[in-house]
């Protein structure tokens, strides 16, 4: 029951963000001065994550504000308005949470979210995030490469694709009444895409555990693809021999391809993908091929006609 449930920590006891940021700055500063400060093993506050900075982070980009990252979301399970997820996702229960990992693997398993958090060290990965609607953000995600989880369950040689299924709970998700997508939300990747180091299982952003509107407690981020490829609030990861049916592709195959790599040269049938508006900017900027990650990922698609396999 949600009504009357007392939070574990009174909000008065939570350290304000400005204070813990100061604390972090102090620690960083102390480290720079060569003073040995032992970082606590566990984060002092629930909600804060201990992480290292990933070398995979995108450099030279200004971060989108936490307010915009957590207030401007597409998460249709909670409604189609950008402000709906922040308004309604709070009702979703993210503990206890398990993820079923099944299909073409030698070690099928159902993992508790707490165990998933321990699979690999949490990193901060700053990625550009490009929505198919032609807006973009820069987000400091916290998570680790999906490959760490995949290696653990040992896919068989038959595993050619990975399917991600999101939670579909009609009690807490008013958007499920919308008939436009075939719930539960499903997304998928080809095996080599899933194994690519940039492909990230995300558990937090801005150093805090994921907020519900961003896909808590576990979501996928594939920075060279349009945002909708990153399934939120994942409850099942299945390894398949055939390409899975995915939510948007099923809803409108001519508009939302299975691959959906960011590509300024392949327009959405109804609008251009050549430009995007970075949240916070006034004017649009050119969209980069593979969202600027071509150097790392273009080889995955060598010999493929990206206009056909959009």
């Amino acid at each position: 029951m949600l009504i009357g449930k007392k939070p574990d920590i009174a909000s008065s006891e939570i350290t304000p963000k400005s204070l813990w940021l100061d604390r972090r700055r102090f620690i960083t500063g102390a480290a720079a001065l060569g003073i040995g400060v032992a970082l606590p093993r566990e984060a002092a506050n629930a909600g804060t994550l201990k992480f290292t900075k990933s070398p995979l982070s995108t450099k030279g980009e200004e971060l989108t504000s936490l307010k915009d990252v957590t207030g401007y979301n597409n998460f249709y399970e909670f409604g189609t308005d950008k402000s709906d997820p922040a308004a309604y996702a709070g009702a979703m229960k993210t503990r206890p949470w398990t993820v079923e990992i099944s299909g073409e693997v030698r070690k099928p398993v159902t993992l508790d979210i707490e165990d998933i958090l321990k699979i690999a060290p949490i990193e901060e990965r700053i990625y550009r995030h490009r929505c198919v609607e032609a807006w973009s953000m820069v987000v400091p995600w916290n998570g680790f490469s999906l490959s760490a989880l995949i290696n653990r369950v040992e896919p068989t040689s038959k595993a050619k694709f990975v399917e991600f299924t999101s939670l579909a709970d009609s009690k807490t998700m008013p958007g499920l009444l919308l008939p436009y997508l075939d719930w539960p939300y499903r997304e998928g990747l080809r095996m080599d895409e899933a194994m690519h180091p940039l492909t990230t299982l995300v558990v937090g952003l801005y150093g805090e555990t994921l907020k519900n509107q961003n896909g808590a407690p576990l979501r996928l981020v594939v920075p060279w693809k349009y945002g909708f490829k990153g399934a939120k609030s994942i409850v099942r990861i299945r390894f398949l021999e055939r390409q899975p049916a995915t939510a948007w592709n099923t809803a409108n195959p001519s508009e939302f391809g299975f691959y959906s790599n960011v590509n300024p040269e392949v327009d959405h049938p109804r609008w251009t993908q050549a430009k995007e508006r970075r949240i916070g900017d006034f004017f649009r900027r050119p969209t980069l091929m593979f969202n600027g990650y071509g150097e790392q990922v273009a080889s995955l698609y060598r010999g493929m006609d990206l206009k056909t396999f959009f």
């Binding site: 307010k67 915009d68 207030g71 401007y72 249709y76 189609t80 950008k82 402000s83 609607e133 807006w135 919308l178 436009y180 997508l181 809803a251 327009d267 109804r270 609008w271 251009t272 508006r277 949240i279 916070g280 006034f282 004017f283 649009r284």
Partner: protein, 203 residues
């Protein structure tokens, strides 16, 4: 209704139609337009354009059904307000969204059906706005003026199609506007039909 009350009502509608613009302006200066202010402004002004167009088209049937000339007296004002909002809508698209890049705009208009429909709707509204004065009614003659101004049905329909085509999934509102427009147009066509006129004359 007394002349004084009529004036008060006129003023109330005049101010009422201005409120959405005033509110957007307030939100613009207080930073309350959300993460993507340009998108919010373009959406909101487009939304008010079609709302006012649809509302304006309901005034004639309302006048006839109520047998009261009051609603139709607001038709011009509502129509001009629709034009006011579409001008902001279009300006934002041309100047901010496309950065006045003529090449990109022409390509967009020709290639994107929703832009094509939107642009056609706007172009249809221009002569209607120009000929909205009493002088122009007199110059054109009431009959020709009425014929010309029937184009507003086409403009509003193009507006609804424009809206329908850009929505990613939730087409509820475009369909609602479409249904209202179809009903209003159907009603007027039925009114204009000889059969209806005969029936009414007989009754």
């Amino acid at each position: 209704m007394t002349e004084k009350n009529r004036r008060i009502l006129w003023l109330a509608v005049f101010i009422g139609c201005m409120l959405p613009a005033a509110d957007l302006l307030r939100r613009l200066f207080t930073g309350d337009l959300g993460a993507d202010p340009v998108e919010t402004l373009i959406r909101a002004t487009g939304d008010w354009t079609i709302k006012l167009l649809v509302a304006g088209l309901l005034l004639t049937p309302l006048t006839r059904i109520l047998r009261n000339p009051l609603p139709v007296r607001f038709r011009r004002m509502i129509g001009l307000y629709a034009f006011f909002y579409v001008c902001i809508h279009l300006t934002l698209y041309l100047a901010v969204d496309q950065g006045l890049d003529i090449h990109a705009i022409v390509k967009d208009v020709l290639k994107r059906p929703y832009i094509t429909f939107g642009m056609m709707a706007f172009l249809l509204l221009v002569p209607l706005a120009i000929t909205s004065t009493r002088k122009m009614v007199a110059r054109l003659g009431p009959k020709r003026w009425r014929q010309l101004h029937r184009a507003v049905y086409v403009a509003a329909s193009f507006g609804a199609v424009h809206y329908y085509l850009l929505v990613k999934l939730d087409i509820t509102w475009p369909l609602i506007y479409g249904a209202i427009l179809t009903t209003a147009l159907g009603w007027r066509m039925w009114q204009a039909m000889p059969l209806h006129k005969t029936l009414r004359a007989g009754a």
